[in-house]
Each structure stands twice: as C-alpha cells, then as structure tokens.
C-alpha cells in the first residue's frame, strides 16, 4: 500500500467525513460565487440602466407642437448633432424605440458621451428607425429629437428650445451606495468562506490524527505527510470548486432575475446583464482562499515567533481591536475605514471564542455544583475546538444584524423621503416660451386649489458658494419653491431655526441639504454667501434638510430671492389637483400659455416604480445575508456533530453513572444552547457596531449623507431564537449518538485522558 493510499484509507472507512468536507467546500464556493456574481451583475446592470436613463437633452418647438421629420431635417441642416428617437407603443403593452445609428454617430465624439442607447438593435426595445416607422403607421407613436450635450441654447435656430429628456428616474447614486454595501458584504462573505474551509480542513486533520501518529511511528517524516495533505486538499478543492461555482451562478441567476425584472419594469428594457461573467475570478479566488485557509498552519509558527507567548498574543489582538475601533471613529478615508473594519473583525474573531472559553473556565472555578462545573468545562473545550465555525457564525450574525438594520432603515427612510419629494401628484413642465407668473395667477384663482394650497412652482438652476482664502468655490444646485405650502412644510428637517418655512416664504433665508451642510460645515443660524451669476447674497441658514440618494449640494430658497439674471435651468409646477382633474388643470394652463401640448409627469407612477426597484434590491441583500447565516449555521452543526463523535463516550459516561438518557440529553442541550447563545450575544455588539459604521461612517464618507441610526431589538430577538434553534439542533444530532452503546475512545488523544 502506498503512502497516499494509506492516508486516503481513512476516508474509505469514513465516507461521511469526506462527504462533509466536500459539501462544505461546495457550499462555501457557492455562497461566495453567488455573492460575487450578483455584485458584478448588479454593477453591470446598474451601469447599463444608468447610461440608459441618464438625463439627456432634446429639442422641442417653442410653440409647444410636437416635433416632426421636417424639424429633424431643419436642425441637421443647421449643423446640429440630433438623433430621432421614435417610441412606438405595442398593442400588448411595452414599447419599441426606433433609433438611427447613422445619425447617432456624431454623439460619439472623443471625450463626448456614448450613443444614447446601451445595447444592440434587437427589439429590446431598440430597433432601427425604419422598422419603428413601419410599426408607427398602425400604432400610436411619439417622436423626440435627442441632441448632443455639446450643444447649448445659443446653437439652436429660432423657434426651438432645449428640454431635458429622460426615460425614468435616475438611480445612479443609490445604485452606487447599494453596490458599495454589496462589495462590503462580498468581502465579509469571503472571510466567512475562508473560516468555513479552514475549519473543515482542521476537522479532517483532527479526525486523522491517529493515522498520522501511526505513520510517524512507522518512520514517515511529518513534512511528507503534510505535503501529501496539501495535495489532497487541492485535489478535493479542484473537484468541488467547479460544482460550487456552477451552483453559485445558478443561485445568483435565480435571485438576480427578480432584480432584472424590476429594472426592466422600471426602464422598459432588459437591463439585467444576464449570465455573462467569467468563471475564472471565482475559481482563482476560491482556490487561493482554500490554499491560504489550509496552509495557515505553516504561517502560524512564523507569526507566533513574532508575537511571543500566548498571553502577549492575546494582548496584541486586544490592542488591534482597540486600534481598529479608534480608527473607525477618526479616519475620513474610505480605504482606511475598510482596513479599520477588517482589523476589528479579525481581532473580534480571535478574541470571541477565547472569551467564551475563559468565561466558562472562570465560571467553572466558582461553581459549587459539580454538574455545572463539568458543563462549564465542557463548554470551554467546545468553544476552543469549534472556534472557527463559531467565529464564522458570529460574523454571519453580525452581518445579518447590520444588513437588516441598514435595509430596514433604508426602506423606511427612502419611503418617507420619496413621499416628501413626490408629495404633489403631478409635475407640469413649464415650456420655455411660457410665463410661469401667468400660470401662478391662474392656479391661485382656482377655488379648489387655493383652498388646499397643494401646488407650487419649482425653479431649478445653479449657484456658487464662494470659497474662503484657500478653498475653492462650490457649485450647488438651486431648488426654488414658492409659494411655500403644505406640499413642503411637512418635510422632516434635521435642524432648524424657529419658523423656518414662514421665513423661507418671506425670502429671509435659505435651507441647505445635508450633503452641503456636511461638506461645508454649515450650521443653522450661520450666514452663507450665495452667488447667482455675478450677484452675491448673504442669507441666513434656516434649516438643514435630508436629501438622500445623490452627493450634490443643494440650496432651497424662495423664487422671489432669485435675481433677474438667474439662468433658469428648468421650471415646473407641482400640483395635486384634488377634486379638480389634472386634465382641467392642464387645459387651463394650455389656455393661459397658448400652447398645444404640455409635458406632465405622474409622480405616483414614478414613486411606485422607484419603490419597486428598492424593494427588489433590499430583498436581494436580505436573501444573501440570510443565506450566509444559514451556511454558517450548517457549518457549526456539521462540525459540532463530528466533534461530538470524538467526545460522545464521555457523555455516555453520564448514562453509565446512572443519569437517564433524558437527563444526559438535557445536559447536552444546556451545553450547546449556551454555546450558540454566547456567540449570538457576542455577535450583537459587533452587529450594532457594524450598523453604525455603515450608516454613520461609510455612507457619509462615500456619499455625503447619512441615514438615521436605528436599532431593531426585534431582530435581536429573532436572532436569539435562531441561535437557540442552532443549539437545539446540535444537541439533537448529538443525542442520537447517546443511544447506541459507544465503544471507548480509541484515539491516542482520548486514551491520554481526553482533551480538556
């Protein structure tokens, strides 16, 4: 019999152990591949959707009538880069968009923007314009003329104006935030994966310790055995990683298609990037993780040599923990923040099982009751032996806690914020030729509207905040609203001076969004200098308001403050018509402005779509973290079960000594529930801390806005119940081994009195 055959013979006798090892590698690979795949898919999808919905500009006629092919010809002749965009609605719902790739050529100037559609002309929804024109004969259609961003107002021939063109609400910044969180999740999952793989590898070693001792006695050098073991684990990994990756992709596809559908519903085009993606990245990463996880033993002596004794090592780890915690408070750089978080996690992972073991040892020293003393000693042994899967579970629990808290906060905050921003039922765009003041008078005259006050005018544009001596000036968005009515006065404000809305209405100050307040260190009561063109105004800050989802700074003022030379970017009216129908309002406005058509946006529909996309992303995040938790729990179960087989004899001794099997099982239950409970307890502060880091550190640093930090004790309870269930399952699995009369332990370790 050759040496490899002798080594492998262990698994011939214990195929279940081999199966467990293989299953762990497959599951761990599946988990990480799933998360990785989803992250890259989500990134690709969001990139696509962003380029698809990025706000572009189109040309419209100042007289309000729709553009035609004649307009296209005229604009081209004037030397403008325009492209026709013909939307044809299909009878069974949905739409196709005809575009002209030839005309779009000028959009792709070097350094300019890319072609206005992301994909190919495959009917989903883009087709060649001739095809769309064919369809348009039978169906309703709408022609727009997109114009390159390089053109400004002055380039247009008379009778035309530039208006924004977008096919849906922009989600760019929110998407980034979501992706950042997915990335953080991916790193954490990779860490958990490594822990799982390592714990399984160590388990295999422990189970075969006798065989190794025997081989050593037969004169086989340790080094050779170790080399063979590495080869063995690599072979096993090579066999298991591929099915793992396949499963991971399958999982990601299942979860991701829902995400894709939501995106599709939102933007009317298949944006989910599908099943592209490489196999190489997960393959190489997993092999590397497995190699590192299994070879960590060879690194450890070097590490230990550097660290000195066990005690000094513990102190050092504690120092790392404290340093990491301090760093997360102080650093203002995202990379350092991630490093600090990693420090805290590594240190917490090393310390947690030790803490449980030491506490249990300490308790046992003070127990008068010998059964309790014995139980606490066993707990200490368990905590040490199952350290790795325990830490994996702790991390997974902390992650679930943080993600749940984050997602729940996100959900409620965005819901509220979206509702605030889309408080009015409709936006009516003010055509460039039209005079908004006329419309205001008309609106004020409508009895229904003047009673409810549910309308206002919105002017958007840009302004500048001049910098100090060595600061640069800052460009900010201007958001002018008037009259200030119930549509906005219900907004939540972070901070405010007395009667902020009233003073805003009287033009006595500005409100700034959180991003700007953070970046410029602006507080309520302070005076800011705002430049509209060349004219400068000193205005007191009345309030700071939340503005999630984008990093841009913004000021909110009353239109009366704006000087005549202010360049209006965009004007609209926000109206909740109440018992008046929106048609009545638009008809009235058409009459006032003497135009034939108006662009009206239905805010309720937008709100619905935006909520749908958020719901889906949140669901996805939740699913991934829950999956991680389940896997970590399974790992602990499996390891607990195998470890217990080596220790079942001692629990059986309790039965020999006259305890009934039920009593022995009760001891087991108390033991395993204490263990899983302890780890859940230790996961709690880590999870709350991680929530805090995500909400109060990472988000503000990355995006300039922070979410309210909320804790959800109900999750804690749920997690507590879950940890109880894990403990009970371990006890249940173990207690089955109490039934059969176990033979005395035969391994060298147990003969020497067993581990303590």
């Amino acid at each position: 019999m050759t040496l490899p055959a002798a080594l492998f013979s262990h698994y011939r006798r214990h195929p279940l152990q081999l199966l467990a090892l293989a299953a762990m590698i497959v599951l761990a690979t599946m988990l990480w591949t799933g998360v990785h795949h989803l992250t890259s898919q989500a990134r690709a999808s969001l990139d696509q959707s962003e380029s698809a919905v990025a706000e572009r500009q189109q040309v419209a006629r100042t007289d309000g009538s729709p553009v035609t092919v004649d307009d296209f010809v005229e604009l081209r002749r004037a030397g403008l880069c325009v492209m026709p965009w013909l939307e044809v609605s299909e009878p069974e719902g949905g739409r196709v968009v005809g575009v002209d790739p030839l005309a779009a050529g000028c959009f792709q100037t070097p350094g300019g923007q890319e072609s206005p559609w992301g994909g190919e002309l495959n009917g989903r929804p883009f087709v060649d314009i001739s095809e769309a024109a064919e369809l348009a004969r039978e169906q309703g259609s709408e022609l727009s003329l997109l114009v390159s961003d390089d053109h400004s107002k002055g380039d247009l021939p008379p009778g035309y104006q530039l208006v924004p063109f977008s096919v849906g609400p922009a989600t760019g910044e929110l998407g980034d935030s979501f992706l950042l969180n997915l990335d953080a999740l991916g790193i954490l999952v990779l860490l958990i994966t490594a822990l799982l793989v390592r714990s399984v590898y160590l388990l295999g070693l422990a189970q075969r310790r006798d065989s190794f001792a025997l081989l050593h006695r037969f004169g086989v050098p340790h080094g050779r055995v170790n080399r063979l073991l590495v080869v063995e684990i690599l072979l096993l990994a090579a066999v298991c990683v591929l099915p793992g990756i396949w499963l991971g992709r399958w999982l990601a596809a299942g979860l991701g298609s829902g995400f894709g559908q939501a995106l599709e519903g939102l933007f009317d085009q298949p944006l989910y990037a599908g099943q592209g993606g490489s196999w190489l990245v997960p393959l190489v990463t997993m092999m590397a993780v497995i190699l590192v996880a299994c070879l960590a033993d060879f690194l450890r002596p070097i590490f230990r040599g550097l660290m000195g004794g066990n005690r000094r090592y513990g102190c050092l780890v504690l120092l790392v923990l404290i340093a990491g915690l301090a760093l997360t408070v102080w650093v203002t750089d995202l990379l350092w923040l991630f490093i600090a978080v990693a420090m805290v996690f590594v240190a917490a992972g090393i310390l947690a099982p030790r803490l449980i073991a030491s506490l249990a040892d300490w308790r046992s020293g003070h127990d008068r009751d010998l059964q309790a003393r014995w139980r606490h000693r066993e707990l200490a042994v368990l905590a040490r032996r199952l350290a790795l899967p325990l830490v994996a579970l702790q991390f997974a629990m902390a992650m679930v806690l943080a993600v749940q808290a984050l997602v729940t906060t996100f959900e409620s905050t965005f819901d509220r914020w979206l509702a605030q921003r889309l408080e009015a039922d409709y936006y009516v765009e003010v055509p460039e030729s039209a005079d908004a003041a006329l419309a205001l008078d008309w609106l004020a005259e409508q009895p229904g509207l003047s009673a409810s006050g549910l309308w206002h005018r919105v002017i958007r544009g840009r302004a500048t905040l001049p910098g100090g001596e060595d600061e640069e000036e800052t460009r900010v968005d201007v958001f002018a609203i008037g009259p200030v009515g119930p549509l906005v006065t219900g907004w939540e404000l972070f901070e405010s001076a007395p009667q902020p809305w009233q003073r805003l209405q009287q033009g006595q100050g500005v409100m700034v969004n959180e991003q700007l307040a953070r970046r410029q260190d602006i507080a309520v009561g302070q005076t800011v200098t705002v430049l509209f063109g060349s004219q400068s105004f000193e205005l007191p800050v009345l309030a700071i308001y939340p503005d999630y989802g984008r990093p841009a700074g913004e000021i909110l003022i009353h239109p009366s403050v704006l000087p005549a030379e202010f360049e209006t970017g965009f004007q609209s009216l926000s109206v909740s018509p109440g018992n008046l129908s929106i048609e009545a309002v638009t008809d009235g406005l058409k009459g006032v402005w003497q135009v034939e058509a108006l662009t009206v946006r239905d805010n309720r529909a937008i709100e619905e779509l935006a909520s749908a996309i958020f719901d889906q992303t949140f669901l996805l995040t939740r699913a991934m973290t829950t999956l991680t938790l389940i896997l970590a729990a399974i790992a602990l179960l499996m390891m607990g079960w195998v470890f217990f087989s080596t220790r079942a004899w001692y629990f059986r001794l309790l039965v020999v000594w006259g305890l009934s099997r039920r009593q022995a099982t009760a001891q087991l239950v108390r033991l395993s529930v204490s263990l899983s409970g302890a780890i859940a307890l230790l996961a709690l502060p880590l999870g709350v801390w991680l929530t805090w880091v995500l909400v109060h550190r990472i988000n503000p640093i990355a995006f300039g806005w922070s979410l309210p930090m909320a804790v959800y004790p109900r999750f804690w309870l749920e997690l507590g119940v879950l940890s109880m269930l894990i403990g009970l399952s371990i006890a249940f699995l173990m207690s089955r081994q109490l039934k059969s009369p176990t033979v005395a332990p035969v391994n060298a370790n147990a003969l020497a009195g067993g581990e303590r």
């Binding site: 066993e378 001692y650 039965v655 006259g658 020497a752 009195g753 581990e755 303590r756």
Partner: protein, 227 residues
C-alpha cells in the same frame, strides 16, 4: 436465595453482522453473593463485555432475567423500556460501580472533581473523596487533570471514584488491561482489598488466568461464539 446479590438466568444475546446472526450468550446463568468475587475469562470476542453491559443495564438481552439488588428485570416483561431504564439508572447511580479498561474520567474535571462528581451523583458526601484518592496513593495528584497523570494513576482514580460512591456491586471490565504488570498488580491488589473490606460484590472480566484464581468464582466464556 436470600443473600444473593445478583442472579442471572437464561440470558440469550445475539448480534447481527449483516444478515448473519452472531450468538454471543446462549442460555447463560450466574449467581453472586454479597462479598463474593467472580472472574470472567474467555477469548477476545467471547462476550465478556457484552455480559457486563447486560448486568448493569447498558445493554438488553434478547431473553432471560436479571435480579440485582432486589430489582428484577425480565427481557420479556411488558414493562416500558423507559421505566426499566430508569430503574437501571437508579441502580448504576447509587449501587453499581462500573470500571472500564480506560476513559473512566471526565477529561475536563480534575481527579478530585471527578471523584466528587461521582460521589454526589450517588448521593454520598463529598467529604471523604480526597481520602479515597489518598488511600489509593494519588492524594497529591488530586488537582491534576486526567491527561496530566499516567494510565495507572488514572485507573486508581477510577477506583477511588467507584469506592467513593459506596457501591454494593462493582463491575470491572479489564480494569488493568492497559497497564504494565507491576502497576496492574498494585491496582488489582487495592481493588480486592477494598472489595473485601466493604463487603461488596465484584465481577471482573480479565485475560489474566492468575488473576482469575484470586476470585471466589471463575467463569470461562470459552471461545469465540460460533458464527
């Protein structure tokens, strides 16, 4: 018989290996009085451990009756298994001391704590536990853990444990099987001495024919059960 401590009648036990039945005990009987000792010998695999397990209720015979310390257990009785288990549990807890060849101690407890744990389970005082360790010559090792002492010292601690529970019957399955001859001699000497002094019954499974002669009865289970 009035002063019979233990009597077993008509015990049958067979295991299965695959589809083949492996008879281990066939119509087996034995008797043991208080203060008596009985040696069980026989080839490896002849059923010594199986018999000891049956005599303390850790294993069930297919048929037959065991009467021990005033309790009767019939394999064919209609008594619920859990009830019989509970009665056996009570006996093992307080009156029947069991010693195996090895691993009789909880690895996570010190020698002294092991003895005290056992004494408490038996409802005995913990006060003389240290005495027992001293009497067996390992008093100074009381606070060490099982993995910190030698095999012989561990077996002595196991004996201290059994005596601390003040048993009426001791079942010892090759208690010195893993010890060298000299140490084994000393441990067995102490076992016999204490058994005689406390007047309890002793059944000893052993491979040592010389040891067997020191017991008041000797039963040879013979060769491997025929398959």
């Amino acid at each position: 018989m009035v002063d019979s401590l233990l009597s077993a009648r008509g015990l049958n036990k067979q295991f299965r290996s695959g589809d083949e039945p492996v008879p281990v005990l066939t119509d087996f009987s034995l008797q043991l009085g208080a203060g008596e000792s009985l040696a069980l010998t026989g080839r490896s695999g002849s059923g010594k451990s199986t018999l000891l397990n049956i005599l303390c209720g850790l294993e069930k015979p297919d048929s037959g009756t065991v009467q021990v310390l005033g309790e009767t257990f019939d394999a064919r009785s209609t008594e619920a298994a859990s009830k019989a288990d509970a009665r056996w549990g009570g006996l093992r807890r307080q009156q029947i001391g069991v010693v195996f060849q090895e691993a009789n101690l909880m690895p996570a407890l010190s020698l002294l704590d092991n003895v005290r744990f056992r004494a408490r389970l038996a409802g005995q005082s913990e006060d003389d536990c240290r005495d027992w360790l001293e009497r067996l010559g390992i008093g100074e090792l009381a606070d060490r853990f099982p993995d910190q002492v030698s095999g012989g010292q561990r077996q002595r601690a196991s004996l201290a444990m059994v005596f601390a529970m003040k048993p009426a019957l001791i079942l010892a399955d090759e208690p010195t099987g893993s010890l060298d001859r000299h140490t084994a001699e000393a441990v067995i000497g102490q076992l016999f001495e204490l058994q005689a002094r406390h007047d309890c019954g002793l059944i000893l499974a052993t491979h040592d024919p010389e040891l067997a002669t020191r017991c008041s009865q000797h039963l040879d289970l013979g060769h491997l059960p025929q398959t």
